[in-house]
Chain length 323, copies 2
């Protein structure tokens, strides 16, 4: 059977940073994100009896990808199949630029692969499965705002995402400034692991991100955009602080990232409510209101060429019924 | 009586960051520094019966400086004089550029003011006094390496610096890259206070800086330059991590600071033992061996105009006997 699914990336406003279980991809903290409408992955999976290994084609190029291979083994085990699959993906995301292409990739792969096996999984089941490919993929199952609960159980069965309603969904925008679309020097997996193992700030990060999450839930429920922005900015900077504490220290900041953050502060000083967040890469995402998005894009285009305006996007869906 | 003293700046390898007493300038952690030969303050103090306020002239310009006024009050109280003084200072330091001009300033002022009153204070007494003008001034009493012990007493009587011997004194160099000589947006006093009050990482910073200090003392005693560099770099990055955790978050990093840090990492990758440290400002100080200093200066001059080579400098001294 062959099925195609589409999933969108998401950007965390409360960051996922640090695992409590490397193998099951269980996080040390809960996180909260906004799914974006502009960046997505479209993936077709066909389970075939004539293959003796999975075939993975990304944007027209056949690849060996250890994360994909590992994930397909998890699916075969969970759904008790011996077959291999042909996987054809189109990534509408600047890859490995810290724009969380693995979130949309594993969300789409989870949906397409299970649908092609004839399953109609609940979002909760899909979220739990996608999490095992890439942690942040657990949130891309949902549109708009989503919370990935870290859970407490050792087997990960209570670690999945759920949607969160907010009146800000129709007002909020994210202006994504692509500082670099080159592959990062320190991947998020490696950076996270080094931080957990060597940064003296990791414990305080986990404690405070729980406070940030509760504050953020309240701000989203109240529709208080300024609070949402302030909490997101402080949470992101705290995540980046932990990497400077690692041994050896490292940072995802690049000179242009700092320039953009300065521009955002300056615009805020001039009365535009705009805040920044950054993930495990140099790109800066500006959290703003839709009414200000054009002005912010125009200003950022003065120093950078790739600047995208995004709104709240949809959750994962199976888009056709090929066979 | 009129006396002149000269004191040099120092750069901390284990940073002083956070006060336990704002008024007495008592630090939350002990720190360790290298006094530099290139940057100094020369100050002449004359106690006069014909003045009804202190007069302060810095680099030929008469100024009202709240920190100097406050410090002169401390001296009048401690040494039981009612007189006011004429203070004439020359600052051979790019002022307020994070090059610790206040360290050399208050060390020189302490020595000149007390000598002009007829006192011949011990280094320990001078260090304790200078500390009350600016914390890092306590270390500029000494040449070469110095440790400012935080002390435990509430009155500050055990919080002063002492010298530390190392065979590296004649081999070590610091290449100072002046990213900006503009006054900083967030002064070190304000940045420190905000960090102590709002950063969730402050407690871990204090705990780990004690470990870094012990490691550094061992590395200096052993003459292990690579360890000295590694410990200094990780300690500095941990200090800067705390500011990203503050509320609101802030950073002393500027785009050029990051570029210089990248260059240092690249040179290290190419076999030159070089490490960076940064204080509460955008300038980057490269810790290296004298044999590599020229090469490092040449490389940094490709992107920045003001690059100074410094060696270990001398402690404070009274330079003449005017009257």
């Amino acid at each position: 059977m062959k099925k195609t699914a589409v999933a969108h990336t998401n950007i965390a406003l409360i960051k996922y940073w640090g695992k409590r279980d490397e193998k099951l991809i269980l996080p040390a903290n809960s996180s909260l994100s906004l799914t974006l409408d502009q960046f997505y992955t479209k993936t077709t999976v066909e389970w075939r009896t004539d293959l003796d290994a999975d075939r993975f084609v990304l944007d027209g190029e056949e690849l060996q990808d250890a994360k994909v291979t590992r994930f397909m083994e998890i699916i075969r085990k969970q759904f008790a199949t011996q077959q291999y699959a042909s996987i054809v993906s189109e990534n509408h995301v600047p890859t490995a630029a810290g724009l969380a292409s693995s979130a949309s990739a594993f969300a789409a792969l989870s949906a397409a692969a299970t649908a092609a096996l004839g399953y109609d999984l609940s979002n909760e089941e899909l979220s739990k499965l996608a999490r095992q490919g890439s942690g942040s993929a657990s949130r891309s199952i949902y549109g708009d705002f989503a919370i990935w609960e870290k859970g407490a159980l050792a087997d990960g069965s209570d670690s999945f995402a759920h949607p969160l309603h907010s009146n800000l969904t129709k007002e909020i925008a994210m202006v994504v400034a692509v500082v670099s679309d080159k592959k990062k020097k320190v991947s998020s997996r490696v950076g996270m692991k080094s931080t957990v193992e060597t940064s003296p700030f990791f414990t305080a990060w986990i404690e405070r991100s729980a406070v940030d999450l509760e504050d953020m839930k309240r701000a989203l429920s109240a529709g208080d955009f300024v609070k949402v922005g302030e909490i997101a900015e402080r949470n992101a900077m705290r995540m980046h602080a932990t990497t400077l504490g690692a041994e050896p220290p490292f940072t995802y900041f690049q000179p242009l990232s700092l320039e953009i953050m300065d521009i955002v502060r300056e615009m805020r000083h001039n009365g535009i409510p705009a805040y920044f967040t950054m993930d495990a890469g140099p790109n800066v995402k500006v959290i703003c209101l839709r009414k200000d998005e054009q002005q912010i894009q125009t200003r950022l285009k003065e120093i950078i060429s790739q600047v995208y305006i995004c709104h709240a996007g949809e959750g994962v869906k199976v888009v056709n019924e090929d066979e």
